[in-house]
Symmetry: C2
Subunit: 400 residues, 2 copies
DNA sequence: TACTTTGTTTGTACAGTAGACAAAGTAAGT
DNA sequence: ACTTACTTTGTCTACTGTACAAACAAAGTA
């Protein structure tokens, strides 16, 4: 019979450890892996042979000697398979093919106005199909599809509620599963954004970080101990509905004074409409309905004082909420992503000032605030990384 | 030479798995352990033999047959060793000896008024010494000492800052280490309280919970995925300084409108002093300086309307902050502990109402709010459990 | 008498290891 | 240039320790 559980498990742990070491430190020799992992040279050699046989690792040739025989250098074979990551936005679909190392191979962006479930899912399917066609051949082919959605997603991949899309109870995972017959992962947009920055962006060397997605609303992806924290039902990170003022503006959630009524893109535009914006290029009367983040950025660049002050105020309110998160989580890094990061130039100072004056000094010492390194790609890249991680952990569980 | 790492590791994992199964399901037979863990009967037998040899497990006699040979029932030997847990409060020291199962064996409480570092640490040492003397003999003796402190503690066991004690930079772990030559663990009072409720109290069956310690201030111990989350520097859970109103009362931390300026014991007393308290037993004029939680509870019990309303208001503000935590963490359980839990009768309704009207409905579905099951013992029991857990995980790491 | 359940004994499979070793290099002395 | 000593890399072989399956003994039920 087969050997059960733990003896296999041990091998899988070590094999995965070797692969991980190669993934993160290539090019690297067998001897170096042995030193880094603490595994015996013999063990490393045998595991590497298996990894080469299964196309995850390739030998690239001899490296530099350090006083003895030249080492055979090993590479992680990023192109052993490809993943698809999708950022399903409120008025766009951004989809990409990445290799197993997260490098973007193909990208496709579609604008949308009709948010009807069927229309959107049809476009989504078409978009993914077209990317799959363009993906190069590889030993493992497309290993999975990840999708980030602006709403609450349960662990079955059902979109329970996505207010900005007007969706409720959409079984997105099931729909895609039937269409593509591939492993599908659906998650909240802030969660995948956090993963993207953690795996490929600003959070690579950090174990505890919060990715703050500030777009129409505010959401957070929470990385603790190197893993995404999802909460008991998968709904963690709804920081946008943190109460910051009991008697503040009414929020869509029914409560008052939620963070996103002060600091989101929605709030920004709402507040901007109340201003008397004067600019030679924009007629106030006709423009008041057309105000959006881009026009405000444009005005700020031209030195429009009220708009600059408005951004500063937004920054201040962002700082207040971030302070709360910092005091509660004591994270190493806050990454500000999504559309507001386009305004980083106008909000950074007031965020920093608010943090310095409000947060607890001990919590500030090891903490940094940065802006998404992958820009608007964080979510799509993170969605792909979910597919990649599932592929590798399935490998870990099943043997390979 | 010795076998390195993984082969030993495998055994330790299984041995610990068997021990854990016995700890949580005793009395249990070898056969049942085999079924529960998936380990082979042979493996279980051999590991159990070793556990019996090292006094962690004992055979209690034959159990009921279920149609065949009678099983030999195994017990976890709680009395193989003892731990000491200390709750270092603002005006008291509560210390206890527990066995390895967390059962309280001896308890000692001292009141204090002088909070000077030397005075307190001397009393602390004396208190621990006297408990050690009274601890029964056992194979492993005292396996460690855990202490919960109302302040920020770093990973070296230094108390960086404890405002309510007036302490800064006290190397408490080092001091106790030198005195007792035993494994010492120092942690924040809310963290140990959370562990106490998680291991022995209301949170036993829960993986994601928040223990809210509402005393003079407000702190939180955060249990995620069955483990305490400490943050990058060990300062997580400073929820008391979450801003709930930009222009609220000034807080000791320098900021304004922190949660604990609205809902802590300190806030409660401050607000009570502003009331015109009328009661036949208490002369307002002379009592105004003597108002404390006990007098307020007394008044509430007698039906004093202003005090009852005051508790309701405190409950409301607790609800606001809890809502924020629920939206962010999506926990399964909130445990309200420390002194405010004495007032649960007067605050529970308004907490619940606020949560129902403010929190997101999806987050509410699987969530419960309860009061500390161990009462004022949560922290001391949790401190002991840190020592116990360290003892067992050291065993796991070293072989036994 | 037939079957079940518990727990031990016996022999085997397999992962990782140490140590020896071959291959291929460096560095220094002559 | 050649020799000698040493280093580094990676493989081969023999061995150890762990978990396992199968057979078995013991002790029960129906």
């Amino acid at each position: 019979m087969k050997i059960t559980g733990d003896l296999q498990l041990m091998k899988k742990i070590n094999k995965y450890l070797v692969l991980d070491t190669i993934r993160h430190h290539y090019p690297i020799s067998r001897a170096d892996i042995s030193v880094k992992t603490g595994l015996n040279k013999t063990t490393v050699s045998s595991l590497v042979t298996e990894l080469i046989d299964s196309h995850f690792v390739t030998e690239i040739g001899l490296g530099e000697s350090s006083g003895g025989r030249k080492p055979m250098m090993l590479l992680f074979n990023q192109r052993a398979g490809y993943a698809i990551g999708v950022d399903l936005g409120v008025n766009y679909i951004l989809a990409m093919v990445t290799d197993l190392g997260g490098a973007v191979v193909k990208e496709k962006k579609i604008e949308m106005t009709d948010l009807n479930v069927e229309t959107v899912t049809e476009k989504l399917k078409k978009c993914i199909h077209s990317l799959i066609k363009k993906t190069p051949a590889s030993p493992y082919g497309i290993i999975g599809i990840g999708v980030g959605v602006p709403g609450l997603v349960d662990d079955q991949g059902n979109v329970l509620s996505a207010p900005n899309l007007g969706w409720t109870d959409v079984p997105l995972q099931e729909m895609l599963q039937q269409e593509f017959n591939l492993p599908i992962a659906i998650d909240n947009e802030a969660n995948v954004g956090a993963l993207g920055e953690k795996e490929f962006g600003a959070g690579r060397s950090v174990s505890n970080m919060i990715y703050l997605s500030v777009g129409i609303g505010i959401g957070a992806g929470i990385i603790l101990n190197d893993a995404l924290y999802r909460g008991v039902s998968g709904f963690s990170g709804e920081v946008g509905h943190m109460t910051l003022a009991q008697d503040g503006p009414l929020c869509g959630c029914g409560s008052r004074g939620c963070w996103e009524t002060f600091a989101s893109e929605k709030a920004l535009i709402h507040q901007a409409k109340a201003l008397q914006l004067v600019d030679e290029k924009i007629q106030v009367a006709e423009a008041i309905d057309k105000i959006n983040l881009n026009t405000l950025l444009h005005l700020a660049k031209r030195g429009n004082r009220p708009v600059i002050d408005l951004f500063a105020s937004t920054g201040h309110w962002l700082g207040v909420g971030i302070t709360n998160l910092v005091n509660v989580f004591n994270p190493e890094l806050i990454v500000i992503g999504n559309r507001i990061s386009l305004a980083s130039e106008w909000i950074a100072d007031s965020i920093r000032e608010t943090l310095n004056s409000h947060s607890l000094s001990f919590h500030r010492q090891k903490m940094n605030v940065v802006y998404a390194q992958l820009g608007m790609n964080s979510s799509a890249a993170g969605a792909a990384s979910i597919a990649i991680n599932r592929f590798f952990s399935a490998m870990k569980a099943l043997g390979d």
